[in-house]
Symmetry: C2
């Protein structure tokens, strides 16, 4: 009799939470009407994304902190920019970012196009003095002219910062990871997730995680230009708050200066979340299991049992998708010279050794 | 009559210097007997080459300073390592480096295998405290174990720094750029070089550049482990010497401490030289035409006419080869955590902005 009960209990536990509408990843993200995709534009965007010459010292490209050969970010608490500078926030993943209504942790950019222009001129990131100066460097690289012409046919002066940003955004809209075990499961392949992952999926729903982490990219309702924000921590005063400095950063308030936005954050996607440690806006939580505990306590006022944490982590590992094969771009050349300024006022020359 | 003379003179001028044995690039570089190529080894090497996790802060990979999407280096006077550190020497190109008998500007590494282990532990480059520590990080990344097993079948403990270096060297031996206009020309396609380029080719030979820049990779006689070195400047006292700080660095002497090696340098390849500005060991010369003037004066005691410089530069542009298409590697994952240490004693935290 005991055996039967256990088997029955296991069966129950492994049935997905049917009341919740689990959605697979759409094949394509929304494409804005004023920036349609094209092969030439995507190639230009990929090339710009990998080109380090639009950083002050020619050392950092978009890919340096949003590494598409990995989880789309840099697995660091915070990125390192020009002159060893660090910001206070952790680089968000570029994978599936096209499914987000707004960009940056505080949602201050309403589109990928707007986001793309930020890091180039951020003094603690790529450190260019202005977009004009970045474009001046770009114009010294002959082959970019024809690439912009091919990407923006019919325009009289296509080589602009706005078009560069459009191209980068078009490339980013190709960075989609379909066919995760989760996606295959909800499309009908009931063997795509393990029993533990299905238990975790149920616990994820029943505990209330889906209140915020809903929808196909697990970041709540999304519409172009519309962000979905949540207060973090919602339940104040847990030991995690001091331990991980959760309230040192004002969040969206820093962008809007609206007191109602203090400690409000864009709900991040959970797609490929297993690949983007360390966690949260400040990258202070090292592991996914601790991130699950922190979330449960600060957002739902729940202390999960160790098995529940393990099950949810197993489920979250099922959100890792397939990464499309990509060819490396060839960076257009400047035969006989470099566009990176040779004079370096910050030179800290050390002994020769290379 | 004058017309005929001119035509005759042009014909003479455009005939290649037949006395000199111009050699095309071989299809393959030498492969050491103890490190045969295999697809699994090359894939492992490419993956390691692009993996930034073997630098102190997880920000730099081999490719950061030896960018294979460009000319195989970083187009900077000197590279930037951990904590904004700069060395005194310019990163050499990785393209066709497999045709060099020795590695580094001072030739201190007798093979690509030995070279590969240097930058990882150089405090002003990738800054790992030791190769052991780098391998300790690598061993935390589960999928590398099977990649090493596939690359080094039959070995009991294949996950070693020596094997990592072998794999990187195997990948680098695929970084060959065939079919430059020069190669096509010397193989019989007489239209592959322009008339100006052929004039430059002749001037290059007649002026004596080929005394050092000989052979298929224009870096003199090469044999595995055997370097070809030359004193730079050979003719001392030119104004270029002070202007470009040519003698600040002792060159090979810094590695051997043998006084005879002072200001001796490995003769660099000229393949793809148009893509690797700025020039020379210290990267102090911004343009290829100035580099040609400096070489002629300091190595041959010649002051070239502007047309000769332009012709040689045109010829050197004909040494830019075809770059093979490459697929981006996927970096093996560590689900739920990062191998990059979260604690950063050098933290210079600035305002949150990412």
């Amino acid at each position: 009799m005991r055996l039967v009960t256990t088997a029955f209990a296991m069966t129950c536990f492994c049935t997905p939470a049917l009341a919740y509408n689990w959605e697979p990843l759409p094949d394509n993200p929304p494409i804005p009407a004023d920036n349609p995709q094209s092969d030439a534009k995507i190639l230009l965007g990929k090339t710009l994304f990998f080109d380090p010459r639009f950083s002050e010292h020619g050392t950092l490209s978009c890919n340096s902190c949003h590494n598409v050969m990995a989880g789309g970010e840099d697995n660091r608490p915070n990125s390192i920019g020009m002159h060893d500078a660090r910001g206070g926030r952790s680089a968000p993943t570029v994978w599936n970012s096209a499914f987000q209504g707004v960009q940056f942790w505080d949602g201050r950019a309403p589109s990928l196009e707007e986001q793309a222009k930020g890091p180039v001129v951020n003094p603690i990131e790529m450190g260019m003095p202005s977009l004009d100066e970045a474009m001046a460097r770009l114009r010294k690289i002959p082959a970019y002219a024809s690439m912009f012409e091919a990407a923006f046919p019919g325009e009289n002066h296509p080589v602009t910062a706005d078009n560069a940003a459009k191209a980068v955004a078009a490339y980013e809209r190709t960075l989609v990871t379909p066919n995760s075990p989760y996606d295959r499961y909800v499309k009908g392949d009931k063997r795509a997730l393990t029993k533990q992952q299905v238990r975790g999926m149920n616990t994820f729903a029943e505990a209330g995680c889906v209140a915020c982490h809903s929808g196909p990219t697990f970041n709540g309702p999304q519409a172009p230009g519309q962000g979905f924000f949540m207060k973090f921590p919602t339940f104040e005063g847990s030991p995690f708050e001091a331990k991980y400095h959760l309230t040192d950063d004002g969040g969206r308030f820093e962008a809007t200066k609206n007191p109602a936005d203090r400690h409000m954050w864009r709900v991040p996607t959970l797609r490929n979340i297993a690949l983007t440690a360390p966690y949260f806006h400040n990258g202070q939580v090292a592991t996914l299991d601790e991130a699950v505990r922190v979330m449960a306590k600060t957002q739902l006022n729940k202390t999960l049992r160790p098995t529940q944490v393990a099950d949810i982590v197993a489920f979250l590992n099922g959100l890792t998708g397939e990464f499309p094969k990509q060819e490396m771009p060839r960076l257009p050349t400047t035969p006989g010279f470099s566009v990176i300024p040779p004079i370096d006022p910050h030179l800290k020359q050390q002994r020769p050794h290379s």
